[in-house]
Symmetry: C2
Subunit: 193 residues, 2 copies
Amino acid sequence: MLDTPRRREIEDAASALFRERGYVATSVRDIAHALDIRGPSLYAHVTSKEDVLWAIVDRAASRFERTADRALAADADPADRLAALVAAHISVITADPGEASVFVAEWRHLSGDRRQAILERRDAYERRFRDLIADGMADGTFALTDPAVAATFLLSALNGIAGWYRPEGRLAADRIADHFVDLAVRALTEVHR
Amino acid sequence: MLDTPRRREIEDAASALFRERGYVATSVRDIAHALDIRGPSLYAHVTSKEDVLWAIVDRAASRFERTADRALAADADPADRLAALVAAHISVITADPGEASVFVAEWRHLSGDRRQAILERRDAYERRFRDLIADGMADGTFALTDPAVAATFLLSALNGIAGWYRPEGRLAADRIADHFVDLAVRALTEVHR
């Protein structure tokens, strides 16, 4: 498959439909209809609906991974690194909420090796959160918790944004990120009364 | 529709299938097959797949509402009330994760008046969190935040449990609840360093 502008249009139209009605309920014909082309013409660009899903999920995973690694590269204390990681994750979602919500909600419709590959990348991505939380617990920055549970708590909260974020909504993306960073860092930080 | 034991069996089988593969990808025939009965016999008990979805979502909504109201009835400070509300929400999920995850993820496949009714009940449920957060901000218990954003943050984190919780998993339901209560209360609480 070539990475052509047409191909990208197809993936964007598919992302929007998968987000709105789900992968299973979207047909190749629906995607073609959204682009105002005939179904058979679409097959010049894609070989199957699952190929389109894979292309979207793979690209989203790469964006999450690249952005997180950049955020974690700074030499900062665990609280600041967590703030950077949370802000990075949210920036990936709000930059392309359609793609992000397909990554978050529809990856389970992949099958075979692709499903396995994404499961492993999701786990490695989540490990960035777990390891950072464990680092912060070790140096006393963070309260004692279960790093896996805390990572799941944070990622569920963050990934929820992919479902409800609308660019025209009440709050701009960077205000949402500010609030979420505060909530996330406080969630991990011991309260001294 | 009668509330018979058979009817409850049908809803439980449907919850498990809707959770596993989604509402759209599950047919009435699949539900009948899971119960080892023939499709036509199922129609003696249910009139449509959406009726089954509605019954599950309606019952789950009632459980969330009732349990939250009981948790909020105590005369306690905002932090303790939030702890009780979070623990209550998690107890509803872990008591019946199949039903809870249909409520969380599949309600959008309802149509017409039922969809509208559930949208309103979801909003009223979320308002319990928003109002409590606003109360805690007003009396200085909680850090300044946007109550709607903070409520969404918490409910996304909590509802994520419906997707990953397994009774046979590493952590018992009450340990998960303990960790989540700590994370949620800290997320709202000002850190004094």
